[in-house]
Amino acid sequence: MNSGKPIDRREFLKSASAATLGATLLAPMPGQAGSAQAGKSRVVLVRDVNVLDEGGRPRAAAVQEMLDTGIEALTGKPDPQSAWKTLIRPDDVVGIKNNRWPYLTTTAEVQNALKTRIMEAGVPESRLAIDDLGVLQNPIFQKSTALINARPMRSHHWAGVGSLIKNYIMFIPDPSAIHPDSCADLASIWNLPMVKGKTRLNVLVLFTPQFHSFGPHSFNPKYVWKYYGLLLAFDPVAADATGLRIVEGIRRDYFGEERPLNPPAKHIAVADTKYHLGTADAQRIELIKIGYDKDSFV
């Protein structure tokens, strides 16, 4: 795991040739993203302290910049357009799976930034959809050839955290069927025909992650943390495991003591050990950090 000094975008681009070698080994072919890779899984953490405006809302231009920087680092390509062409073909039918939880959404800014680059890769708007609760009925998702998985991370009363793995729960008709044992088997959803092998990119939104749940609606503004981050990865388990470490670090800092998530986010470990969807082992994750690095917790 790379836990050294963070680099900014300019510095990163200077070392793009070095990064390209790693990316050649790690970047999956379109349609294979999300499966465990040989060697380490690359996770890119991009942070920009200016991504939120005075009201706490994301600034669209900053979000686009963060996404572009992240995708370049993830793929080892020198610009976002060429990076996206390694992920999306012009003939793809693309579903962006977002999260509509009213208190903490994927955000329109992240969705628009993704949409912009996907369309630049040659996918017309008519073959692109953004959805959450309606994915099973959405004709674009029904015939999708590529999925982009984008959601915020938050503490969750039953699954430990709302994660990228968990974000596909709406691909089953009865989400409560996956609830036993604190949603341990969420990764099984990733083997369903509508999903399997289609995920080209995972984006874990960490602008303001929620680190503690309070009350029946699970949300309280007191327990969100301005983190200013985006995590990008092909491996959803590696991204979730990294996001989980960040949330645990925030909890440690806020409460002033070890305060494990209750319940633990068992589904992330099980996604690795039982379903082999990716790796949750920090030793097998190559973490690239770009930008603001104060209190990164990883």
């Binding site: 749940s213 503004p221 209750n262």
Partner: protein, 274 residues
């Protein structure tokens, strides 16, 4: 005086402080609670949730105040779900309450109540507390705390840390024990957790009461093997030099986690009544 959830609903004011009830209350049952609060429903189901009544108060604009009244199986369950994530001790409303940034929660008798008004304003906060007191006053009687909580030694106990549960999922509030049911905790095994500061570090005490001594011994045997690794005297030094230990006394199991020394584990066991 109201005796049922519907009675309490009927007693709610039609308007308060310029806020007016927007629509008739909606009632949720164990079968459809997840349609309202998604996966968060499992927390309530694990505390014998019976039904909930939900309604909104509105004023001009889009602002609203959401009132949710949960009827739980027992007053112990109402306390358990209230205490599940609390961080402070306060009894301004009901038998125990907590307020943070626009959200008031409290418990009284077998009811757990949430009044949510985001974003918080001073005026809305006043209405939230007035509503809370109105609802608390309309709930007849007071609930009793889970008896097992009284077995937690009082000296040094952080009162806001006290947890009550009977589902293994809630074992890990202050110390990661396991994501498996290593102590055979279920609906018939009331459990309590509390933390004690010793040397600046939180020692965690867990108590579980079983229906029989035989069942307690079976659970203890598994825990000794899986968690304590068969350590002699049921005491084991864990990561970071911290100690854990187990004691079974009849149908009661006590487990100490994160103690600074083996002696601290033994000393805590001596203090446990019952």
């Amino acid at each position: 005086m109201p005796r049922t959830l519907n009675d309490i609903g009927r007693k709610l004011p039609g308007s308060i402080g310029g806020w007016t009830r927007a629509a008739p209350p909606v009632v949720y049952t164990p079968q459809n609670l997840s349609t309202y609060i998604d996966g968060g429903a499992e927390l309530y189901l694990s505390y014998n949730f019976r039904q909930a009544l939900s309604l909104k108060y509105k004023t001009t604009g889009k602002d609203e105040i959401t009132v949710d009244i949960f009827e739980m199986g027992t007053s112990a369950d109402a306390f358990g779900v209230f205490a599940h994530s609390r961080e402070t001790i306060d009894s301004t409303v009901g038998q125990g309450s907590e307020y943070a940034a626009g959200l008031l929660t409290f418990w009284k008798d077998r009811y757990y109540v949430s009044i949510l008004a985001y974003p918080e304003t001073p005026a809305k906060k006043d209405v939230v507390f007035t509503l809370g007191r109105t609802i608390a006053d309309s709930i007849e009687g007071r609930g009793t705390l889970p008896p097992i909580i009284s077995l937690l030694p009082a000296e040094g106990l952080a009162p806001q840390s006290v947890r009550y549960f009977h589902h293994y999922i809630w074992l890990n509030s202050f110390y990661f024990v396991s994501d498996e049911n290593v102590l055979d905790i279920g609906n018939d095994t009331p459990a309590a957790l509390g933390t004690y500061k010793q040397g600046g570090v939180g020692l965690v005490l867990l108590l579980v009461r079983y229906p029989s001594a035989a069942r307690a011994e079976a659970a203890a045997a598994r825990f000794r093997k899986d968690f304590l690794g068969g350590a002699p005297g049921d005491l084991r030094e864990m990561k970071g030099g911290r100690w854990s230990g187990l004691l079974r006394r009849g149908d009661l199991i006590a487990v100490v986690f994160n103690a600074p020394a083996a002696d601290a584990v033994r000393a805590m066991f001596i203090r446990i009544k019952g």
